[in-house]
């Protein structure tokens, strides 16, 4: 579903796909009308998905020529929603990054990943925490000064009840319209919406994971990695650092993974209909818990090009934006491999389910004190069980095993990652 061009300059605007678990989205509101001039990156519509409200951006400079659908309408991914004429010089990538075209090599085979991301200029995703929005306005990122701020929950409710947003007065920061500003709304009704939202997130996770387990023949490996050296090194490094500069062990491991992965191309890429396309770029997806609202998996883009400090900065930034700000759709669509972490107080090991169309997922267990045999002597060390679930159609246990061993080795020299 690449550029659905109907004439050299006429471009279809389609419902974007933001991952394997997105089947459809609901157009809530157009932010433009016919004849409007838009610049690349302007918000043209608001879409509600299981991943939250999305500010869908224009991918080109140009003029909106047609709005083909009216809100509120639920549309499958790839449906044409509107058309525009492009005045820009690069009309070749007309649609948002869709599932299956997320990797540059599968998309055109010509562009570098950086080019693809620029050309896509993807919609921004706001994963807003509906129930708390009213109480914590500081968490909001203001989309643009001129735009009426509306919480997604308020927008959805107003739409459902046929209330025009322009007729409402917002009580939130900068006049934002919040759920409480939408009239005639029984309280339990609002809770119902929120429940629907989180169950839709659950449904989306369920769909993707069922698909993965049905279609991908997983194999699983686990290795206990001695992180005593890395932990001690990190402790010393962090000792004189302010909180905002400190590094986490997770960042060290992600940086190590990123540095080792180029040697294991069979673990990094995407597989469609049994056809594997390795990715040169290494975009590491990180599962981030939205606490009571499920998971998102934004990627650290080009992780292999970043040093440890940069990986940490990225991790901090995407975590923050996932929890309370905005994610860009490129971050949700371009992961070439995923790392999932159970956290310090979780289980000893975590065996992940591959997120299609990727071919591997790395699971990080809890960092724990454990007995280690070193030079035939027993001592106590800091150990983490690192697992690899990989697609057996693409790689074998031997490859996976070599990767885990190389990772363990790399982690004995964390200073190389700086």
């Amino acid at each position: 579903m690449e550029s659905n061009q109907t004439s050299p300059n006429l471009i279809d605007i389609t419902m974007p796909a933001l991952g394997a678990d997105m089947r459809d989205g609901t157009l809530i509101e157009w932010q433009v009308k016919r004849g409007d001039k838009v610049a690349k990156g302007d918000i043209i519509a608001v879409i509600e998905t299981s991943k939250g409200a999305i500010d869908m951006e224009a991918y080109h400079d140009g003029t909106i020529t047609e709005l083909l659908v009216e809100p509120i309408i639920k549309l499958p991914v790839g449906s044409v929603m509107a058309r525009m004429t492009a005045t820009g010089t690069e009309p070749q990538v007309a649609t948002s990054p869709a599932l299956g075209t997320t990797d540059s090599t599968t998309a055109t085979g010509k562009q570098t990943p950086a080019d693809t991301r620029q050309a896509d200029s993807p919609p921004t995703v706001r994963v807003e925490r509906h129930p708390y929005l009213a109480r914590h306005p500081s968490a909001l990122v203001q989309p643009s000064p001129s735009r009426q701020l509306v919480s997604p929950a308020a927008r959805l409710l107003a739409s459902q009840q046929g209330i025009m947003l322009s007729g409402l007065t917002g009580s939130g920061p900068n006049g934002a319209i919040l759920l409480r500003d939408v009239p005639a709304k029984p309280e339990q009704h609002a809770r119902h919406d929120i429940k629907d939202k989180s169950s839709s997130m659950r449904q989306a996770i369920s769909d993707a994971m069922s698909m993965s387990k049905q279609q991908i023949p997983h194999y699983y490996l686990a290795l206990d990695i001695d992180l005593s050296i890395a932990k001690a090194w990190l402790k010393q490094l962090n000792q004189h650092r302010e909180p905002e500069q400190r590094l986490l062990i997770t960042a060290v491991i992600i940086a190590a993974i990123a540095h080792q992965l180029p040697r294991y191309p069979a673990l990094n890429g995407s597989c469609h209909d049994g056809q594997f396309v390795p990715s040169k770029a290494i975009h590491i997806g990180n599962t981030i818990s939205l606490r009571d609202e499920g998971l998102v998996v934004p990627a650290i883009l080009d992780a292999d090009q970043r040093n440890l400090e940069q990986v940490m900065a990225s991790l901090r930034e995407i975590t923050e934006r996932a929890r309370r700000g905005r994610l860009r759709s490129s971050e949700l669509t371009s992961a070439t491999i995923t790392v999932t972490s159970i956290g310090e107080r979780g289980a000893d090991s975590l065996i992940g389910v591959i997120y299609p169309p990727q071919v591997a997922i790395i699971g990080l267990g809890r960092l724990r004190k454990a007995p280690i045999v070193s030079n035939d002597k027993l001592c106590v060390g800091d150990v983490m069980t690192v697992t690899l679930s990989a697609d057996h159609r693409v790689s074998d246990g031997l490859t996976g095993s070599r990767f885990l061993t190389a990772l363990a080795k790399q982690l004995q020299h964390p200073e190389d990652l700086l």
Partner: protein, 81 residues
């Protein structure tokens, strides 16, 4: 700064990190990170925020001294000049 001031600082910081937490509901002598379900990144962000608000930087070596909410309050009081 008074205890109330520090409590307000913690509340402000937590509101950004874990908006769903009601500090009235947590056990104040229990492990703060468990009570508020803070992961290591959240905890780091909490400390960064507290530093911004109070000027007090809690070093990693002092983490064991700030396990609970009440310990955190006392720590901030003790280190405030």
């Amino acid at each position: 700064m008074t205890t109330e001031n520090f409590a307000a600082c913690i509340a402000t910081a937590l509101r950004r990190i874990a908006p769903e937490i009601d500090l009235q509901d947590i056990a104040q002598d229990e492990d703060l990170r468990e009570e508020c379900e803070l992961d290591s990144m959240d905890f780091l962000n909490l400390l960064a925020d507290l530093k911004k608000q109070t000027g007090i930087s809690i070093p990693e070596s002092d983490y064991p001294q700030v396990r609970s909410y009440n310990q955190l309050i006392s720590y901030l009081q003790d280190h405030h000049q």
